[in-house]
Amino acid sequence: MKKGLRIIAGILAAGSVIFWAAAGGNRGWTKTSVPTKIVDQVTGIEGVSYGKHFVPGVDFLGAALIGAGVLTGASFFFRTKPK
């Protein structure tokens, strides 16, 4: 159980860092939409349209690492079985 929790914690920590970095390493808040600029050629007005897209931010990373920390902490409550 102890080992299992630590393995899961490790996977969660490493996985979240890799996912966050691969998604662009966004150092702001997590985004659930991304903006696209549209320019009206006649008036010159710049508008924005939004498309749904998940971009993990530091809050996502922080939550995943905290979760990994909690699992690791919980693992200390289990005794190592004697061989």
């Binding site: 006649v42 007005i45 508008g47 924005v48 530091v58």
Partner: protein, 202 residues
Amino acid sequence: MKTKLTTLALIALTSGVFAAPQTFDFKDPKGINNAGFKLDAPLESINGTATAVSGTVSFDPENPGATIGKIVVATSSLMVLNSMQRGHMLGAQWLDAAKFPEISFEAKEFKNVKTEGDTTTADVTGTFTLKGISKELTVPVKLTYMKDKLADRTPGQKGDLLVIRAGFSIKRTDFNVNPGQNEDKVSNTIELTLSIAGASAK
């Protein structure tokens, strides 16, 4: 001499008759008209736009200083990039979109009017209403009159366009937008911009 004076008087009269104000409608089916907002925050600034803009403005190209009108933005159309943040923003503590579905500015008076060609800059005084609270504000504005350009934007429709651009700031505390709360996380100052084009069909 008498004939010349009569002719001149007639020309002056008819010029006055034809220089009538036009009504421009700012409802934009293309969704490009937008009001932007920005608030400073520690991690990153909160930026968003609202695209459900409507309203009408009465504008006379011969007398831009006499412009009046009202621009309305649907509160529910405000967008930010995080859906949870958007939910909080439209909720009861912040903008309370369910109870206050509209944000508006009603222009009443233009001062410091300067016109160069088709572009007019001025300071417009009017009533700004947010979350049910109305306050008189004076904001700088730029109007660009585009004669016979409606067909370029909307094929098949003849008419003129009027582009309005404005930028100003307000305080959350003045409009009961979660006053005095979270000021370390979300700035009390909200910077607003307006980039809209209205159409007057002929």
